[in-house]
């Protein structure tokens, strides 16, 4: 370490002062931050220096096991969206999926569009949605007589194939960016249903439906709802509100649906299915 004229920086008064002052500041900062302050946190400081440093680094050193019997955990779904599940859910082959989907035609319609309004249309639905629901039916976290039986006969790869097939069909408009902005999609809207869908109702802690189900936004594993069947949407809202459907991770749907009135459920379902809410 040498500056100009062959003099080392340690011989330079400016450099020496700078290094001394900085070292002093750092020693003080680390001393207070890692040794002194942790001892005063939340009134129950660490017992040793090692614990203090661990706490300052963000490790939990005070976790104690809670004794006694614990209730069994309630698991909403076994699907975790990480690199491998997303990759698997998107790796389906639509051709193979079309063949497997012959089993679905009776209820979900010829090309994934059905006239039975209590059954969902599947055409155009995001592959992650179909993948997650089939996995939930298979594991029993979502319950339906016929669907549970069918899902149990499928492997994970076949599930992805079916998902890819339905995604490839034209149908339910997709969520996502690139929507042309339109007036009236805020609290200023005069239409109570439109307000609920796009802005939600913060006084009740209800987020807008569109934030996850589109248009203009999406959430991983949440279906786009435009042109979905009304009776199906309404039934699902009821089931979430009652807790008889409980496969929503972190329970957003159980929480929100539980706060909606019957009329609101009906109106929201009708608005989405009628195409009043379109992606573009």
């Amino acid at each position: 370490m040498s500056g100009e004229n062959g003099k080392t920086w340690f011989q330079d008064a400016w450099a020496f002062t700078a290094i001394c002052v900085l070292s002093g500041v750092m020693v003080m900062a680390f001393g207070i931050g890692f040794l002194v302050l942790p001892r005063f946190q939340r009134g129950r400081g660490p017992s040793s220096t090692r614990d203090a440093i661990h706490q300052a680094l963000g490790f939990h050193t005070h976790e104690k096991a809670i004794g006694g019997p614990q209730p069994a955990p309630r698991i909403p779904t076994y699907v975790v969206w990480n690199e491998s599940t997303i990759h698997q859910a998107l790796s389906g082959d639509a051709k193979r999926g079309e063949f497997i989907a012959i089993n679905c035609v009776a209820c979900h319609g010829e090309k994934g569009m059905t006239s039975q309004t209590w059954i969902p249309n599947l055409a155009g639905i995001d592959p992650l949605v179909v993948y997650k629901q089939l996995d939930d039916f298979r594991s029993g976290t979502r319950v339906s007589g016929p669907m549970s039986a069918i899902a149990q006969s499928l492997t994970a790869q076949q599930t992805a194939d079916v998902a890819a097939y339905y995604a490839s069909l034209p149908g339910v408009p997709q969520t996502g960016g690139g929507r042309i902005p339109r007036s009236g999609r805020s609290y200023r809207s005069n239409d109570a249903t439109e307000r609920l869908i796009f802005a939600g109702d913060p006084k009740r802690g209800i987020a807008g439906c569109a934030a996850c189900h589109g248009p203009g936004a999406h959430r991983l594993g949440a279906p786009g709802l435009a042109r979905q069947n009304a009776a199906y949407i309404e039934q699902q809202l009821h089931d979430f509100a009652q807790g008889s459907r409980a496969n929503d991770m972190n329970m957003p749907m159980r929480t929100l649906a539980g706060m909606l009135t019957e009329d609101e459920m009906h109106a929201v379902a009708a608005a989405y299915s009628s195409g009043m809410v379109e992606a573009k």
Binding site: W14, G33, Q55, G177
Partner: protein, 544 residues
């Protein structure tokens, strides 16, 4: 027109051409947040607009401005022609092309991730590519500043580098190091997800990397303003700078302390323990030192000017100052805005007090007061100062210019003071729409309407600014236009200690501080794995 003048001129014109539409977006955004009726009240449009406003105001506008100012300083220091002008043009075009590439997906609504990116939000990859190009263009400038300062030292061995050249080089070096944080985040984390090569992203690591850029970028914006404080204002006031050495120390302290402090933006983030948050909090307080040094030196320089003009008594020198000079007026108003802005910053950087204001409108109001107020008002004055020199045509009216600065000053106050108060009342930031029928929210309605009024005043000010510059551009050529003169110190140094004449040692200090304060906080992500979450891709569409 000389080619060397064309270079800064092109930068300034492009910067202000981006600035005007961004201001309009800002006014609309405030209107959207207010209880007043507004065209296109669509939250999606709001977030697209915030992304455009922020990307232009945070990246494009100040970067182009600093580059233009740097080239103007370098060419005058080098006796008219700076080294490597060809490369400066290359950098300019890279930045401009990057701006265009970034703006298109924002306008399409496919990159509404706000200018601070916020992974796991993922926008169109072209948005990030565009911004990377903007930054890449500025790296040409960084290299040229360092090369020119070195060339000056070789041509003038043993002499102190002119303060303006010294400071703009410090600014360039600061930007060179600090931009690496955001660049690493974009290149190694966001772009692979945006292009679909990966699906998940570690948001904690991304935020930590971004924090390296997030605070020092403010000092990058501030540097041209401080350079004007030290080198242009005393000259415009007809006097001298109080101390050249003080200026050098201040700029060096900014270089050393403004980067290893970014974690004070992460006080509420769970991925870091309290230890490093405290250490960086202490370092943040160290940045207050050069600010106080600057305020002292500049006030002292103003007092010298006032007394030279016959001002007497304790405060009489203030009245004697030439307030009709845009540069003097702008610096005065800027110092006034820097006061409340700086103290607000002290609250934000204090580990405990931060919790009261975190994620509220207070923070947005704070950075608008500091950047929009204290910084940009001096950018206007720099433009007024350099414009006649670059175009060879005199400024059409100093009175109009001063009115514009006053308008801007009041506009900033009317916008940001109620905004701060709304934040203290709990108004959250990054919200597109508020339900004013809620009694708790309704209390902030009037304050937000006041901010809209302030925004309109700011818009008027920018229109006046454009008018003055455009009118001057078409004014007849001046017969003689003196070159820019940078202020001399009261006691101009014949020589300075070599550590105050270069950045080698200070760069090593900076890197050591970075390693100490960010080494573990970043390193931990590589051994505490499993924190990736799925990217929320705004542009995600089905693979058909």
């Amino acid at each position: 027109m000389e080619r060397s003048r064309l270079l800064p001129l092109a930068h300034f014109i492009t910067a202000f051409l981006c600035f005007l539409p961004a201001i309009c977006l800002g006014v609309w955004q405030m209107l959207m947040r207010s209880p007043l009726p507004v065209p296109v009240d669509d939250p999606n449009a709001y977030y697209a607009s915030v992304t455009a406003h922020g990307s232009i105001m945070a990246y494009v506008f100040p970067t182009l401005f600093a580059m233009g100012f740097g080239y103007a300083i370098a060419s005058s220091a080098m006796g008219g022609v700076m080294r490597g002008e060809k490369w400066a043009w290359v950098g300019f075009f890279v930045s401009v092309v990057g701006t265009v590439i970034a703006i298109v997906p924002i306008a399409e609504g496919r990159s509404s991730v706000l200018y601070t990116f916020y992974p796991t939000l993922i926008g169109s990859p072209w948005y990030y590519v565009g911004l990377v190009l903007v930054i890449l263009g500025s790296y040409f400038w960084i290299a040229l500043m360092v090369i020119n300062m070195r060339a000056w030292k070789q041509a003038n061995p043993g002499k102190p580098v002119p303060l303006a050249l010294f400071a703009i080089t410090a600014c360039a070096i600061l930007w060179g190091w600090t931009a690496l944080g955001a660049a690493a985040e974009v290149l190694f984390q966001i772009l692979p997800v945006a292009f679909g090569w990966r699906h998940t992203i570690d948001a904690g690591l991304a935020r930590t990397l971004f924090s390296i850029t997030l605070h020092a970028i403010v000092y990058f914006w501030l540097f041209p303003t401080y350079i004007a404080y030290y080198t242009l204002m005393p000259q415009a006031a007809g006097a001298r700078l109080y101390s050249d050495t003080m200026g050098r120390i201040a700029f060096i302290l900014f270089l050393v302390f403004s980067i290893p402090v970014g974690m004070h933006h992460l006080f509420m983030d769970p991925e870091h323990g309290s230890g490093f948050k405290f250490v960086q909090s202490v370092l943040t307080f160290m940045v207050v030192l050069p600010t106080l040094l600057t305020v002292f030196t500049i006030c002292a320089s103003l007092e010298i000017a006032g007394r030279m003009r016959g001002g007497k008594g304790l405060f009489g020198w203030i009245r004697a100052l030439p307030w009709g000079e845009p540069m003097v007026l702008a610096v005065g108003l800027s110092l006034l805005l820097l006061g409340p802005g700086g103290f607000g910053g002290l609250i934000n950087m204090s580990f405990a007090m931060n919790a009261m204001v975190h994620n509220t409108s207070w923070v947005t109001a704070h950075f608008h007061l500091i950047f929009g107020g204290a910084v940009v008002i001096v950018y206007f004055a720099i433009a007024y100062e350099l414009w006649p020199r670059l175009t060879g045509r005199p400024l059409v009216s100093k009175t109009l210019a001063c009115s514009q600065l006053w308008l801007w000053f009041w506009g900033i106050l009317i916008t940001t003071v109620p905004w701060h108060i709304a934040g203290l009342m709990g108004q959250p930031r990054r919200y597109a729409i508020f339900d004013y029928s809620d009694p708790l929210v309704a209390k902030t309605g009037l304050l937000t309407i006041l901010s809209v009024v302030g925004g309109i005043v700011l818009l008027c000010s920018v229109i006046l600014f454009s008018y003055v510059l455009v009118r001057s551009f078409f004014a007849p050529l001046a017969e003689f236009m003196p070159p820019v003169r940078y202020a001399l110190a009261v006691n101009p140094p014949a020589s300075v200690p070599k550590l105050l004449n270069g950045f080698g040692f200070w760069t090593i200090v900076l890197l050591a501080l970075l390693l100490i304060s960010y080494g573990y906080p970043i390193g931990q992500f590589f051994f505490l794995r499993g924190q990736d979450s799925p990217g929320y891709s705004l542009t995600r569409e089905l693979v058909r």
